[in-house]
Symmetry: C2
Subunit: 159 residues, 2 copies
């Protein structure tokens, strides 16, 4: 089995996408991260969900999580609303800080997909065919294929 | 809303757990990571799914992903089987390399949960009450609560 056999078409977002909408998109699809298209054809960025969370929390809280305590309960619940109107490009980490993106080739083996996810600490990888991006692979899909007997129902099944 | 309100009881594994079984457990529950109990009461370790993948790939491939290419397709598909019999303690990263664990208090606000997940790059956090661990919070659960209107069905629902 090759990378292309487990590649899926998940929605991607652009730098101009509303940041809150991007986070909601990730939530609605239960995605473990987002692929962000850059201006050109090639510059993709892949952010794990934990980093997409940065889209919805104030910068000073990111820099010092202890400051989250100064928010009262209600303010915390409302944070998502307050951040509306900013774009992904405005809230994502500076481009120069982003590591090289996790990418596999469509004919890579599943072992190679595992190795790239592990080395990039990324739950989602971009699948390329030459210069083209043909889709993405999530870690959940990879695990489903690696452990077909470990589905949600198998625990209850008789041995 | 506080951390305790969205805390769940996900299974944890021990250092003596079979590594392959640990990875399968994560797959079967669609968990974004695993909490690993140490020997004592306190030393927990939290690994995101991408790092649990290291449980099922050979060490030399982790060190040099390019070496995954030397595996032929069938060998790659069989890798999980070949790793059976090793424990989590044997395959997890050396303890000294593990960063401080992502942990929140049961009365923390959701903003604090966000901030801890973001700063630790972790899709799962341990929830503590004093010295006790009372459960875990996954990023999926957090996103569900932050964006209740962004459920899987809401996209199809009439506005």
């Amino acid at each position: 089995m090759r990378a292309i056999d487990i590649t899926e078409q998940h929605p991607m977002v652009d730098e101009s996408t509303d940041a809150l909408e991007a986070a909601k998109l990730m939530a609605s699809r239960s995605l473990p991260g987002l692929v962000i298209r850059g201006d050109g054809k090639h510059p993709y960025t892949v952010l794990p969900a934990s980093q997409v969370l940065r889209f919805v929390i104030p910068t000073y809280v990111q820099e010092n999580p202890a400051l989250a305590r100064v928010y009262d309960e209600k303010a915390s619940d409302l944070m998502a609303t307050k951040l509306a109107g900013r774009t992904v490009g405005e809230v994502m980490p500076p481009r120069r800080e982003l590591a090289e993106i996790p990418r596999v080739n469509d004919d890579d083996t599943l072992l190679e997909v595992c190795a790239v996810m592990a080395s990039f600490h990324s739950p989602i990888v971009v699948v390329g065919h030459g210069e083209q991006i043909v889709g993405t692979i999530t870690i959940r899909r990879l695990l489903e294929v690696l452990f077909p007997d470990a589905g949600p129902d198998s625990e209850q099944a008789p041995a």
